[in-house]
Amino acid sequence: DVKVTQSSRYLVKRTGEKVFLECVQDMDHENMFWYRQDPGLGLRLIYFSYDVKMKEKGDIPEGYSVSREKKERFSLILESASTNQTSMYLCASRPGPLNTEAFFGQGTRLTVV
């Protein structure tokens, strides 16, 4: 079975902390994504990657960075967490570009206090 695993289901961090959200896929997929989901705003793309060490900004990259040192792992980094980054974060992967199916993790509910 296809699996995308996010390291934490729930996370509480303090303002100003550096936060790492980890995502691992076991399908040898090329393409990986990080989204945040907020009520009424849908899934907004933060960053995506199409290969190891390759990354591209999505629609809302400000305040975030990413790392993809190995094909199976895509990390989202909040350099200095702020309260407006409280959200549900979803990781996804897919085999390649275009019409391939994306598989999602269960999400990390991050609260910044």
Partner: protein, 112 residues
């Protein structure tokens, strides 16, 4: 990034009713995907449509891609409580084909 507009934003219906939700853009889609997200889970792919005018059926769900490939609809016949969830349309081929962008979704509640 291509803007995907979904309507309605919320829909609450009784079990057994029919419904249609929509996804529109001012630009032409190369293709379009529909996902469903249940509470506490990540989205799951329902269908990919590629050809203008294409119709695909998945049990009680019928997906249509507009002739001009600027819009798509999802019709559910005789809705069941298990259909409750967030329905998202997505452009799977943005920005050189590696970007996957979603609309804001339609939140459907089917009341028993």
């Amino acid at each position: 990034t291509q803007l995907l507009e979904q309507s309605p934003q919320f829909l609450s219906i009784q079990e057994g009713e029919n419904l249609t939700v929509y996804c529109n853009s001012s630009s032409v889609f190369s293709s379009l995907q529909w996902y469903r997200q249940e509470p506490g889970e990540g989205p799951v792919l329902l269908v990919t449509v590629v050809t203008g005018g294409e119709v695909k059926k998945l049990k009680r769900l019928t997906f249509q891609f507009g002739d001009a490939r600027k819009d798509s609809s999802l019709h559910i016949t005789a809705a069941q409580p298990g259909d409750t969830g967030l329905y998202l349309c997505a452009d799977p081929s943005g920005a050189g084909s590696y970007q996957l962008t979603f609309g804001k979704g339609t939140k459907l509640s089917v009341i028993p």
